[in-house]
């Protein structure tokens, strides 16, 4: 019996060390994490969207949660995310691209220094960055933002209480943190463009604008698409920025409410786990549509499989 056991163990050992088993042993941690901490909660989210979840009392309530999504607060959250995403896209793609082109030129003095200096804000956490912006846009006449508009004879404003300025603060915060990163993305894209292309264009007498239009822009397309994708994704998943701007996720009249903020409020603060899950499901669908559109038109996977 002992021998048989030993043999079996050796058999297992031999299998474990075989070249056939090795790849599965290597990817096993990922499979475990993927199944336990991703697939399982994702399925739970879908199931709970059709449930009323209270401690010790879980029951199916059909489409009740989905119907509840017809909710002005939820629409306000979606609207906020849409506006925020649109504004960040309008600012965080063209400007970093132009800055990167300028920094890529050898004639720019101190380009390494500027590249690093503009990168510094992303080193701060959203908590610290949010705190800084919250204090800058304080309501007191002495707060920095009010002092600055005061120079032009305006204000003081209650920045965090007006819809327009709420968007402005959130977008400024995003631009502050992400401009440097997007510059880096575009710079690494620019550096992969062969120098000869520009040289031959110069010989043909092409102007700077024509060079940008016919060489830089098309060659930067993959980078632009990447930045576009992560910006849309980041825009719809934005939450902490607005969470930090107001104590306890409470913005006046939902001015800073985001989809995830609403999920957090319903599922977390008010313990409506079923409804919170339905909001999550809705966001999942939005994100999936974005990804599918992106895949359809730009074929990220197709390029990566090559």
């Amino acid at each position: 019996m002992g021998v048989a056991f030993l043999k079996k163990r050796q058999g297992f050992r031999a299998f474990f060390y075989s070249q056939k088993a090795a790849p599965y042993v290597f990817v096993m941690p990922f499979i475990l994490v993927f199944v336990i901490f991703f697939v399982f909660p994702l399925i739970s989210t879908v199931i709970m969207s059709f449930q009323s979840v209270l401690p010790g009392q879980v029951r199916f309530i059909g489409l009740e949660n989905i119907k509840r999504l017809n909710d002005p607060e939820f629409f306000q959250a979606i609207k906020n995310n849409l506006i925020y995403t649109a504004l960040t896209l309008a600012l965080l793609i063209p400007f970093p691209m132009i800055f990167a082109c300028m920094l890529n030129s050898k004639a720019t003095i101190g380009r390494n220094f500027f590249r690093s200096a503009l990168f510094v804000p992303i080193l701060t956490s959203v908590v610290v960055a949010g705190t800084i912006f919250r204090l800058i846009f304080g309501e007191l006449p002495g707060a920095l933002a009010n002092q600055i508009v005061g120079l032009f004879g305006m204000g003081p404003f209650r920045w965090r209480q007006m819809q327009g300025t709420v968007y402005m603060i959130l977008v400024m915060l995003a631009c502050w943190r992400w401009t440097g990163v997007n510059i880096l993305y575009f710079l690494s894209g620019l550096q992969s463009i062969p120098e000869e292309l520009y040289e031959s264009a110069s010989i043909d007498g092409a102007s700077t604008i024509r060079k940008f239009r016919h060489i830089t822009w098309p060659m930067l397309k993959p980078t632009t698409i990447y930045v576009l994708t992560i910006s849309i994704y980041g825009g719809f998943a934005m939450f902490l920025e607005s969470y930090m701007l107001y104590t306890n996720n409470r913005s006046p009249r939902g001015m800073g409410l985001t989809i995830i903020g609403y999920l957090y409020r319903q599922g977390w603060e008010q313990n409506n786990i079923g409804y919170g899950s339905a909001i999550g499901l809705c966001l999942l669908l939005i994100v999936m549509v974005i990804n599918l559109v992106q895949l359809k038109f730009f074929g990220l996977f197709a390029k990566e499989d090559k």
Binding site: F30, P41, S105, A107, T108, A117, V120, V127, T247
Partner: protein, 290 residues
Amino acid sequence: MNTAAPLPTLKEKPRYTLGTVLRLIFFLLLTFIVLFPLFAIVLASFKPGTELLRTGLNVRWQPEVMSFNNYRLLFEPLESDYMIWFGNSLLITLLQSVLTLIVSAWVGYGFAMYEFRFKNLLFTCVLIIMMVPMEIIMLPLYQEIVGMKIIDTVWGIILPFVAMPLPIFFFRQYLSGLPRDLLDAGRVDGSSEYGIFVRIILPLMTPAFGAMGIFIGMNCWNNFLWPLIVLRTGSKFTLPIGLNTLLTPYGNNYDILVAGSVFAIIPIIILFVCFQKYFIAGMTAGSVKG
């Protein structure tokens, strides 16, 4: 002879034109604007919290009220829990970075060096995780952590994210560049598949570890939402969570909040200055295609 020689040097030397000067001024201005908020908070960290509450955050130079007092408060256990939070953050960041690095390298190696069934399917799963915001699965994930009895522990923070998609992706890319002959050489020498990874591959991965280590470390250090959900006991709080508790409308803790915020950025700034190249490699890892 002397007519031909100077020409190439003339061509290579960048010419400092009006455009160059304008560009320099432009970037100096931009950098000034970008760094200004940080300057404002550093300046405020030397003023008493009551001053901040009375006048708001400003950039007035007030030597009569400025001191290192706020920083002294950070280091006094009776005045604040700041040092506890700092220690917790340091511990979690180190533990999480090391574990995530090892696990991700292990998995990335499997994807890079072997052919096996379901490989493409599994790798698609890696990319899918990247595409779904974590907040969507936050509620059931929390229930799961409670069920596993690792709520309010370091493991509750670390385990769900120990096989992070971006580092796996990055390590796979990095290792794909290595010749597979290395594996055969190891096998001939009598190493097991795992021995090859530990003895031959790991030492070759040091630069990749540098880039990803800093990227993961920065994310852990600044991680907020998930630890906020997992941690309940005040003595286990990390820096971002602790600082967030100070951000009340009454402003009674602004001394520690502002000085603490500045002090939380300092370790990362120091790392950034020393290992800039790794930061940049880590940040741009996602945009590099296979």
